[in-house]
Subunit: 354 residues, 2 copies
């Protein structure tokens, strides 16, 4: 059985295409309706906020993503929108990095599906389509613009709301929007994509569909991080999109699994968490880790060390459990007998080096 997978059905790509957002939304607006724009609060008062095509009844929500998105945040945003008393919005537009894109997806779904977002962490639990939603990345590399997941930290776990309904209806890929990103964040988020390509291509699940996307994504990452190109922002935006598409018939691997552990227990952000974990995974991905270190050197990135040094035993156990619970990732990395190959003490040794 192969997966019959859904993809984002409408795409616009190009420098300055953000200016066409008003036209794109026009077709979806009802007479008395409104659109909710969820904007990363780093853009509060910035030129980008002024370019949001706000109509009379529209709302802007500034969301803070200093911490990765929590289910409690989603639930409170949904309450806030319901509290406007204006009925369901015509659309939800997420403008920001992967966290904001995931928040907008989850809010769209929880406006139409009852209960808490924590109830839907898992695979294909959502049964009702969400509100029409548009994703506009201002950071490249997470693949959130194209993925069928909205990754949330809940009371019990860090796990996505995975479903075809989670996909955006429309994405706006404007490479100009990524120009103000701080260098470290640019690097870590780009590495999310690079690592995810390495894991996908080295995995046991790969087929020609995922390989075609993964190989081209990897090549574009190499151009961006090891060479110098005027259109590096365009390339990295496409690398992120292709990287996301390569997951269709594949999976990420050991690095993403371990970084989930770091995030859940220590609150480490996903991109930097992937870098910290990947740097310890030479035994799994020898060529990828070597090249990653060349990229770090070229861009003078130094990773934090000793993150787990003062961790309590309970926290270390929780970190290991979080990572090992991501079974498909380990199976993709190590094959069907991954449990024998990755006992808890091997995972512990990896975490201890981080």
């Amino acid at each position: 059985m192969y997966r019959n997978f859904a993809i984002v059905p409408q795409i616009i790509f190009g420098r300055g295409c953000f200016n066409q957002l008003d036209d794109i939304l026009r077709a979806k607006r009802s007479a008395d309706g409104f659109v909710v724009f969820i904007l990363d609060d780093v853009f509060k008062g910035a030129p980008l906020e002024g370019r949001v095509p706000l109509h009379d009844r529209d709302r802007i929500i500034h969301a803070n993503v200093d911490d990765e998105p929590k289910t409690t945040l989603i639930d409170s945003l949904v309450e806030q929108i319901k509290g406007y008393g204006a009925g369901q919005p015509d659309g939800i537009v997420g403008i920001g990095g992967g966290s904001i894109l995931d928040i907008a997806k989850a809010v769209s779904l929880l406006l139409t599906n009852p209960g808490s977002s924590a109830d839907y962490q898992g695979w294909d639990i959502i049964e009702i389509p969400g509100i029409y939603k548009v994703g506009i990345p201002t950071l490249s590399g997470t693949g959130a613009e194209i993925s069928r997941t909205a990754i949330l930290t809940g009371p019990e776990k860090k796990l996505g709301i995975n479903s075809d309904y989670t996909l955006y209806d429309q994405i706006v890929l404007d490479p100009e929007l990524v120009s103000g990103v701080p260098k470290d964040q640019w690097f870590y988020t780009g590495m999310d994509c690079y690592i995810h390509d390495v894991e996908s291509l080295a995995g046991t699940f790969i087929n020609q569909f995922s390989k075609a996307y993964g190989e081209k994504s990897l090549e574009m990452c190499q151009q961006v991080f090891l060479e110098d190109h005027d259109d590096a922002a365009d390339k990295l935006m496409m690398a992120s999109y292709f990287g996301g598409m390569s997951i269709a018939y594949s999976q990420v691997g050991a690095c993403h699994a371990l970084s989930y552990g770091l995030s859940y227990v220590l609150g480490v952000h996903h991109g930097i968490g992937c870098c910290i974990a990947f740097d310890q995974l030479e035994e799994f991905y020898p060529e990828g880790v070597k090249e990653f270190r060349q990229m770090m050197e070229k861009h003078q990135i130094s990773l934090p060390r000793g993150l787990t040094a003062s961790l309590s035993d309970d926290d270390m156990e929780l970190m290991i459990t979080t990572a090992l619970n991501l079974e498909p990732l380990w199976e993709n990395c190590l094959g069907g007998n991954w449990r024998e190959l990755m006992p808890r003490d091997r995972a512990r040794k990896l975490f201890e080096r981080m």
Copy 2:
């Protein structure tokens, strides 16, 4: 202004995934409805026909594509389906090469849009969504599975029904289905993709989105036609899909324009017509033509010659007019001043060499 483009929203890829067609259609079937399968008549009585998941009220139409699809054929198929007296079908499934895929698209659209298919040859004339449609290629290279066009020969012109509604709702990409294709047809259809990548990448319209898809498609074509790979069928199927996607922000060029002239006046099939034209276009695409000749040599393909030798003057004029009417293709190839660079007598000299 950038194009906000729609893509086929649901894809399944994998060897043997044709076996999942019944499951895929199940969700779209109504209680008393029926599905129409439009099958290339080369499969009449062949094992593939026996694998079509026929339900009680379903119909199979065997379509002959010895000639390229005409608007009259579409209109008669639509009459035939209406003549069943069973109302609109729940779905139309096209199983075959590019011609069959285009026929199924056009039939889906003309079941819901009034008049003749000839009325809709052009850009964005269709206003009503068609019947749910599934495309299943048994030949790789045309890109018809992913394109927003259904190319038809009408009373006045060879031109596609170009619209977002033309896109398939679902495609089934099963590399096993292409195994029985005769070698010449495999080569010519594959070259449709290769040439289309060369034209797209060399064109003036290209951007990073189209470049990412076009470069990877070209690379996969090179692997298929210049190297030896066990998974060549998988690669060529993905090359075709990527080639089609690369057209999103690009266009084909001189070769496709000239081959339309050959098809319209002489009835030459599209794939072989592209090869015949491309072989004369060294001045436009020097590296591409050189590599194309290596591919011909490796696969011992010899092209027909002297096609236009006995053409009447009127027919030659019509051929030139047909080719030069495809303005966006020439603009992509030669830039805004293409009319000065490609006067009628230059086009005539190219045709005379074919």
